[in-house]
Symmetry: C2
Subunit: 583 residues, 2 copies
């Protein structure tokens, strides 16, 4: 037996007991006549003591051979500490070591195993097995486990059953790019890894399973942006015989349950906002509503005042940044540069200081009188000491740019509090979005999303105006879940594929099994999927998904620890009947 206790559990009630502990040497302090060791395991740290007075000399000698991260086993007596450490649960005791065994040695780790380490991200990823010895990383993985357990508990209690859907499925060129897997037994053919179990969960609804969920790995072969992983985890859910309202209630319930069980936070009823309203008020379909700085349209107040830059544009819209009159001229210039970066792409903005004496000072003083600016301030509810920022341009672009600025300012003003949680349902998404490049409509959610019944008549005449029974759950400015009521009528589904530019043959080849299934009594159904990696990080007050993944990949899709992907043997290629194309 390697231990009688863990390093996190001994306290004054154990004094005089003889115990055995195992763990890693975290810190060793050698005062000559006395040696202290902080022994660490997953559960905590326990102080070991060896001294000239009470210990055999051989023990002191042995202790002096120990290095950081050596794995040792000790037996000794629990004694009360002279100087107690109130910051750790074991801080009132220490172990007077009687027996010490080195279980394994350790080279000096490439970075320190401490909460604040000296290791950079690259190095920590390469030695991820050492990184996860650190509390911040370990605790994030435990947090993730706890959230997963709570999700499963809630959904199971609600009658959902978790069903595993296949990982080796069929490639569908619609949507993002698939990872594919050559089939040795079926040469020339490939499986694809699922981007989501979408069609399987719909088939399960046709199959009468009624309430399904799964915490499941999904795959997308996309060029990786920061915090996008080629493999990611979803909480995938589907329900039959439901309307949108039923789904919102169940998953609002899930989110409330998680906030309560994890943070002991009660939230009454989640606010709801249509897509149009979210875009108008926040320029964003996933607004962070923990803070204000809402958009205010100024077309009626700022147009036709001789300011050519505004006059010719589709939309004039501004936000009021609280307390930001504190910005110097230089600060504002830098902010201007920030919005002009290619990532944001704004041409610029007009700023208006709201001075302490109630006067205004703006970058367009030539065109707008004190009175004009006062009318802007009134609309925006600007207070003394605030800074108004106004942009103009094409409506969609300008909203997007101003939204980016709003989020940036909120970061700077520390308005995005990690321990505050503001969920929001965004509903009534457009069914389709026009894609300039391909010159056709794309499904905004996916091709299985149902149009609102009252908008179906517009499918042919004005497809762009058709709204969908689709909804997103937004938490603190992040989309944590999205879903829709599905089409369950074969005819409507065919019409939808046609609208999306599928020929009848393509639709049959790729989704024939679903279309066939719809002929055999498909019930009304709908569902939602949560990005689990993101949900976990947001619930933990972070937005860095990678930290919550045990073995993440870097931005080139590489696992730098195991060095994958890698070349494979020619025999493997031969068996698969494929060859590499030299470029």
């Amino acid at each position: 037996m390697f231990r009688t206790h863990t390093c996190g559990e001994l306290n004054l009630s154990n004094v005089n007991e003889t115990v055995t502990l195992s763990g890693w040497v975290s810190v060793l302090r050698d005062k000559g006549f006395m040696i202290w060791i902080d022994l660490r395991d997953r559960y905590g740290i326990t102080q070991l003591i060896i001294d000239e007075e009470r210990s055999e000399k051989a023990l002191l000698d042995a202790a002096r051979t120990l290095g950081r991260e050596f794995v040792i086993q000790v037996t000794g007596k629990v004694i009360e500490r002279a100087s107690k450490n109130p910051n750790i649960p074991t801080g009132e005791i220490e172990i007077l070591v009687e027996k010490l065994e080195i279980l394994n040695e350790s080279k000096l780790p490439p970075f320190t195993i401490e909460d604040k380490t000296d290791g950079g991200e690259e190095l920590r990823m390469q030695y991820r097995y050492l990184d996860i010895r650190r509390n911040p990383v370990k605790n994030k993985l435990i947090f993730r486990h706890n959230v997963a357990q709570e999700v499963r508990k809630y959904l199971s209690d609600q009658g959902f059953i978790e069903v595993e859907t296949p990982v080796l499925i069929k490639s569908t060129p619609e949507g993002a790019r698939d990872f594919v897997v050559p089939s040795r037994m079926n040469p020339g053919q490939f499986y694809a890894l699922p981007q989501s179990p979408q069609t399987f969960k719909q088939l399960m609804m046709v199959g009468g399973l009624d309430r399904y969920f799964q915490i499941v790995k999904c795959f997308r072969d996309e060029d990786l942006r920061a915090d996008r992983q080629p493999e990611f985890t979803q909480i995938d859910c589907e329900m039959a015989f439901v309307e949108q309202e039923d789904i919102l209630n169940i998953f609002e319930g899930l989110t409330k349950y998680l906030l309560k069980s994890i943070h002991n936070i009660d939230i009454e009823k989640f606010p709801r906002m249509t897509y149009d309203e979210a875009m108008r008020r926040y320029g964003n379909d996933k607004p962070d509503i923990r803070f204000g700085m809402e958009f205010h349209e100024l077309d009626d107040l700022a147009r036709d005042k001789g300011f050519d830059v505004f006059d010719k544009e589709e939309l004039i819209v501004g936000i009021c940044a609280p307390t930001l009159n504190s910005y110097t001229r230089k600060d504002i210039d830098r902010l201007l540069e920030w919005v002009q970066r290619p990532q944001i792409g704004a041409r610029g903005f007009v700023w208006v200081r709201v001075n302490e004496d109630g006067t205004f000072k703006s970058s367009a003083d030539k065109f707008y009188s004190e009175e004009h600016l006062a009318s802007w301030a009134e609309r925006m509810g600007a207070q003394k000491g605030d800074l108004m920022i106004v942009m103009a341009g094409k409506a969609n672009d300008t909203r997007k740019q101003l939204s980016a600025l709003r989020m940036e300012l909120a970061e700077r003003l520390e308005l995005r509090k990690p321990d505050e949680f503001a969920p929001l349902w965004v509903v009534d998404f457009p069914l389709l979005e026009w894609d300039e490049e391909s010159g056709r409509y794309h499904a905004m959610h996916h091709p299985f999303t149902s149009p609102k019944p009252e908008d179906i008549s517009k499918l042919k005449s004005a497809p762009g105006e058709v709204r969908a029974n689709a909804y997103d759950l937004v938490l603190n400015g992040n989309e944590i879940g999205g879903g829709s009521i599905r089409i369950y009528d074969r005819e409507l589904q065919s019409q939808m594929f046609e609208l999306l530019g599928f020929t009848a043959e393509q639709a049959q080849e790729q989704f024939g099994f679903l279309m066939n299934a719809f002929q055999y009594g498909a019930p009304p159904h709908g569902g939602i999927a949560f990005g689990f990696d993101r949900l976990v990080s947001i619930l933990d007050g972070s937005e860095t998904i990678r930290d919550y993944i045990a073995f993440p990949k870097n931005n080139s899709g590489r696992d730098v620890m195991i060095d994958a992907p890698a070349a494979i043997d020619q025999t493997q290629l031969d068996e698969l009947e494929i060859s590499l194309v030299k470029k």
Copy 2:
């Protein structure tokens, strides 16, 4: 709202309530003046009634348009049934329908949606979404969900944390064949799908996570035998600072917990048997101990009696089949043919009838006297009416053949009772097995398994005799779990790779990250993995794994429902920089 209740919950306490139900038309009986409909959903069946006396004529007309598996929504009053059905929870009531709406029509299904269907396996797999409407299939999926929940509960309560390991990893030619995934971002390189998260779980132990588990999909590109799936699910577990005994206790606990929570069966302490003993007593390292028919070696009794067929063989071994003296001469001949089939490959056997009068009759009467046969009977504990069957040959082959016969006879005698559970630990497996084909040793479990410390000295001199700290959990003749204490010493691991024929370079290239990790304070650790698909089926009293998988693949690795794998577009191949090799 589509329903106020499900089809499984209404009873006499709901009489006179007006309810709305949705579901599938399971059965429709039209007596002319009265129509009954069995409405089905996941939760049960509720009888609907429409009659000339109490219902509007339009309703009867509408009901007559319904076909099997139509999806309907009805509103009506709960009334007490005249003739009750005690076999279903809703059998005391029916719904007098007031409103009927067809939500979706259905073509006639290709097989009947009933517990005993007329559909063959092929057809049912093609229309799996209809198959899972049937109770036996649906209930198996719900059972699987329940087992998964219980497993997670037990392990979480024991301090295990579930960590998701990557699916896109690196190919290692050792072991079974990998599925590979070409990397578009790293042309010419491939990911592999994991055959198990083995190295990752060991790295997590190096990382101090202490207790890890995961219910996880694994992948093996093998030619499929019956009931082998290219993707399958494991309960994967690992613990640090443990000896074999600790692991056996924890996972004996898990199995007990499952038997108790699922079947309310208490099992005291699981028996243990060494590999050698299991082979000697049952000819099998996963013996079904629900019944006897143990092996008895007869070398000392049956050799040198002039029977040449036995005399020259390595092993003479028999079993006693209870009551099987009832077999006619013809039955025995057929049994002889059965063991001579190529799948079994035995040359034959000697049979000995134990007659009701205590005399014996054998197929080798010429060589063995009544007295000889009595000594055999005594050793085997044969009773009047039994049949002794004795084989001879090379020890290993003969044991395997006799084991197959033992299992076959147990099936015929109905000794393998599905509601009886007999777990067994098999321990002390050999570390290595000699592979004739490659002329070298292979790891019996895997290359990370630790030899027993007392046998390490034999690693060089007599590798075949080295026993491993490896163990299997056997349930009802099936290996449901297997694991080992791992090597955590870099030197020993190198030695092991060498023994298995790896060059130092190969070992470094394939497992370098693990070898490196062992330099930084690897703790003693070990683990186990359960085949979850098999565990679930055995716990449910079945051995047909495929029934417990929602969307299984056939023996060619195909999903016949979605028709995967399939050809992919040339543009996909081009992006991946691979091409098909025409053979």
